[in-house]
Symmetry: D2
Subunit: 413 residues, 4 copies
């Protein structure tokens, strides 16, 4: 009756590259071989590399962020077979814990170059930048963004079950359609990409197939969740995931020490390698029972909590920087909101890139406030004032503080 230590279902080998390790994969495909079996009711630990598979260095130069090979992320741990899972079931995943590796107590937040990934504000901040975060127990701080410190709401950016062939075909159909009609001067979707593919222990033929067909891990998708980057999927949360293939083929990865709503700089959370402890249950026939089209979850009861009276909240509307009126466009409104926060915080001596990085990873709340008063969508972003070690409230005197610098690329003048 005595429970022993928790089984580790997957161990990272830091002596090898992520590509060399057969228990990772970086595409969604129903045929990727499973790496182990988990019985419903079981609790397991799963080790994960960071989203880039370890390519970002703990240093003061952002060249690695600029040169990041985007055919590779994200390296996911899995897929795991969940015993007895069938299409139509719901897999209930309780996140019991997430921790960085004890001997790797750091993570990073990066702005990618506009020509290589970009981010939500890349019109304003087109070039790469980076901040390294040191973990101090539940807190983190960065030499690249001084006078800021906050506890992490630690979570995985990606969790999901494998798509069925039909679901995968639907993904490829609709995303390639978007690409084919695109008139914007930017990449709008990442179609299957044979280069850089990692299909776990798949043989060459299957690997090539996964390269041709496999969905990228970059967007989250309604049918399975995946890369949804929801900061509240933290310790104690319980997520209900639709099952599309026999055995569920569950994968997890892209661990974040912390993230702000939106993860605005794209590689924007505090990315880290770490260990996640998961408990699995199965709800047979759950998709029909819950009339489920997309995952749902219940957050955990433990989280950093700042009183509402300690939040400084910024408003933004769907009128863009050029004064152009957009019709109920929450995306435009949220971008404006981000810009408002940046303007405000720059007054204290930070650079725009520093705040761009900070808003991507600090526990800021982004709300859809008003979405019906034509033509202006209104959004808010709330910044907890207590993450700063000086007073940022309106009217407070501006202290003279050395705000240092985030990491830039070596070719920056």
């Amino acid at each position: 009756m005595v429970a022993g230590p928790i089984r580790t279902a997957l161990k990272v080998d830091f002596g090898k590259s992520a590509q060399e390790q057969r228990h990772f994969h970086n595409r969604w495909h129903p045929d990727i071989p499973t790496v182990g079996k988990i019985v419903p009711g079981e609790v397991v630990k799963v080790e994960c590399v960071d989203c880039t598979g370890g390519r970002i260095q703990n240093n003061d130069c952002a060249d690695d962020a600029r040169d990041c090979d985007l055919t590779q992320p994200h390296y996911l741990s899995g897929p795991f077979e969940i015993e007895g899972a069938d299409p139509g079931d719901v897999l209930v995943v309780e996140i019991q814990d997430v921790q960085p590796f004890e001997d790797r107590p750091w993570g990073f937040t990066a702005v990618l170059d506009r020509r290589n990934g970009g981010g939500f504000l890349d019109d304003h901040y087109p070039r790469s930048a980076k901040a390294i975060w040191d973990f101090e127990g539940i807190f983190c701080s960065s030499r690249h963004i001084p006078h800021v410190r906050f506890p992490g709401l630690i979570h995985p950016g990606i969790m999901g079950c494998a798509p069925s062939a039909e679901v995968l075909a639907e993904w490829n159909r609709r995303e390639s359609e978007l690409v084919s009609v695109n008139t914007l001067d930017r990449v709008v979707a990442l179609c299957p990409q044979p280069e850089g593919v990692h299909a776990g222990s798949a043989e060459e033929d299957l690997r090539a197939k996964v390269g041709r067909e496999g969905a990228r891990t970059i967007p989250g998708r309604p049918e399975h969740g995946g890369n949804c980057d929801i900061k509240n999927l933290s310790r104690g949360s319980k997520t209900y995931l639709p099952v599309h293939v026999p055995g569920a083929k569950f994968s997890v990865g892209d661990l974040h020490f912390s993230q702000g709503d939106g993860e605005i700089s794209f590689c924007g959370a505090i990315e880290m390698a770490g260990i996640i402890t998961l408990k699995f249950e199965l709800m047979k026939g759950g998709i029909r029972e819950l009339d489920m089209k997309s995952p749902i979850f219940i957050p955990g009861p433990v989280e950093p909590h700042f009183g509402p009276g300690r939040m400084l909240t910024f408003e933004g509307f769907s009128v863009d920087e050029a004064g152009k009126q957009h019709y109920m466009d929450v995306t435009v409104a949220y971008r404006q909101t981000c810009l408002r926060v940046i303007e405000y915080l720059k007054r204290f001596g930070y650079s725009g890139e520093q705040i761009y990085l900070l808003l991507s990873c600090a526990p800021v709340q982004g709300h859809v406030a008003g979405i019906v008063d034509i033509p202006n969508a209104c959004t808010t972003m709330s910044v907890p004032m207590d993450i700063f070690d000086f007073d940022i409230s309106p009217g407070a005197p501006i202290p003279r503080l050395d705000m240092g610098s985030c990491a830039y690329t070596s070719d920056r003048r």
Copy 2:
């Protein structure tokens, strides 16, 4: 030194229509005459009618919502002259309290007809519906949506200072431009509308001018806030509003007993008449000092609070009902999220309209979760499970409850 009762700066006369009362107005215009003067540091009570000026009845028929004259809303109380306020200043407004009138302990939530205002989900719910809410102290409940009860996070939907002539011209320019290029099969913005105009105590000439030029109160706008419908602008909050004209010309109205993030059914909060207690301070030169382009605020420390582990959270992505992929469109994602909640809650016997109404006014949280993983924006909506008197958690048995009906129009088959 002894403070007396708080001065009531504006009293509603319920024996007259809102149009007949000279201390209201329903357009934004710099020339609308002020209705009184307030000294910085002063605390005043301001009475407000509901957003429709009292046209919605406490009954079980939604014809009044369907036939609502949209040239009229919102009736705002004011404008008030703030002594010493100049363009470039920031007006700091502390909301000390908001209360319904003691003898009018009720409010309403309405779905407007798609042909007359519509709402966020009008493709799915094109026809009018209504719910009446009875206030029970800090709680409300509705005979039209049984088995639900929650405390209000009471707030004004609209607060702002008058635009200057230049700001007003800019609003009219950009919104009329949107209208002129519109290709959607719907009204995308409300341009100045002489019909139904109320310009306070303005003489006929000025009234006509306000009708020709005055901005509608329907959208919030970045330069002054206005109709931002932010549910957290509740008791104890402190809002920083840019001043554009001498004397600030502050107005307030559109009181809400409660609202969900987004106010999705348009007339979607619990609309009510009531009394707001405000304290004003002036930050001279504050716009430059704070580098302010849009209002900011600090919420109050008092609010309903449900533990995070009692929120049921739904995910939505920017793939629409037809399976079409949209590029990073938060608006589409949030609509999907709303639909996911409706599907889930209909399982308990509610109609779609009941949930549509409920999500518009209950304290649901709508977050921008992921906004960088091309092409899918991801949003969440969190529903506090404790507002229901039965267990809505996934896996709980579905009780047999009589969910009654919301109010529909009389011509509904």
Copy 3:
């Protein structure tokens, strides 16, 4: 089906003294005549005078506190007959709202003289002092304790059903026994007191009987709750009260705008006159069903909330000021804890009396931390740092602020 305004079941007449109004009483006795009937399910408003019946003035002199006639408090509103209530039932009382009177937006906190009531720290602060609080919507501030402001967790200090003759006899037995064996140099219990008695509309004979037998309102008692002074019995709370007599005979009074855990200065909350909105339900046979010996309650979901990281917490142990070790005495420990807070906050320029008053009424949390490590009980008091408009955290520089003075008695040198 349309609900009208809430019925006011009892109205205060401020033109008369509390003694003159027949719907008040200031003793607990089963025979005090009821003042009205309430049907289970009904919501009513009940008006209340302050605990002293209006004897404390809004001025800068504490003579009224010093000379307070302690035979009089508390004036309770009621008793109300609850239709259908029988001994053995449980009366469920939901507090839907508590408000001060609109034209009396102030309250008071007093230290009583050691020779006339005293308080928890009367060995240290034997003489009367007073602070007047002005209400600003949900907030309060005091000219007598500058640089402090907080939202009220508004509640009634006293609620309960009348004792039966047997319960009353038991109260009188055990309290008179305590008095008879008392060796302390202070009053240890208030026995029935014919002087100052108010028995509602009772005729002279009954009034005399109530004077002889009626229990004082001063302590709360396990059998019915009564004067329990629990700050969390605020808006939205639901209290389960044992019924001891037919009709329950429910009374309420002693409204507090705010109170700290312990109400340490005795007349220590922010005492006020006001209006309480209550809903009643009956749980037939509830005492046996719940195996209830004392009231229980569920707090409401709306309250001021300060993040835990914004609390400054002080520890105290059961070793008294003279260095004497007490055995597991939480009372001694809590007194020490209070003294620790006072010493700390005096550093900022406040007088001891100001802090004594403040801790009595601000939303401080007093916890029983450790109660098993012989011989030292350990308690904590947590002070929300955000109620001060300057930084009180350890290590923060001490600003030079004018802390003014609380009200003292006129004979103070």
Copy 4:
């Protein structure tokens, strides 16, 4: 500039008994040799054994709890020399993390025998009982108390700096005085006890001296904190500890996975071995600067949080089980409050011992509610309803659940 992994300043050897390991000690004495040096600003990990040094087994029999040798606890890790610390300084200790050992994911709560330690309710529950808790990430559950599960507010029960010779003498004076005048039929304080003493690496002479003079670790004491058992001293908290000897000589131990306010069953928290991550800062001359007599602290911003509306709160007063009235005795009131909770929860099928154990370790809140209304002190205990997997609210139907049994002693009939 790159920070490496955190240094582990003390490692437990589970192959040896705690007595055999020279970096532990179980008495407070200024002369116990230090086990290492820590520089202000440094972050270190310190490993700790459980309070009993590993004597309680993960089994279903409480004999080990009954037979526990009370001359031994608590085994503390340390003392550590803090470089530069002098008497009069304040040592600021930030708890950055506390974790159980990965391969020991369990802890225990015990009721001790009344004749060997007892506990707060030993008049009612005189015999030993035990519950083993399994850790599931941030949650714990017990086969001995079914249908309960909660997240831990993890913390050390004991932290403190060594007393000076003077402080130690004062402790011994006042505690022995209490013993000498004791008339109760129980042990009221633990005086220095040569038997079972562990003085770290002290030579025999010093060890004997520590045995004769050293203060027991059982009570917390005002001058240094020590065994204060405050559940909120959890991750992210910052404690300010007075320094009494050169080098501070800081020790820590008695880790708890969770504890309720009061730790009522004495060995009452969820006791565990584990690892604590600490950061140290020094406030030179801080005792005078803060006018500090006892430690103070600021809790961390991360904690389990249940909405206030999900707490079921019980009241208790200073009238004991025999109906005897006590004068303002919070200890009696809190005991009554505990008994009220036990009576209530026994209705669901639990034994008294199970609830006694549960209240000792679950995150229940114990408040000093009213402490001025003579003669009745009033306390409350709030139980979060969400730790149960069934509905415990008043009026909810009582489900038929198998509540199993906690561990009892083998001689129990």
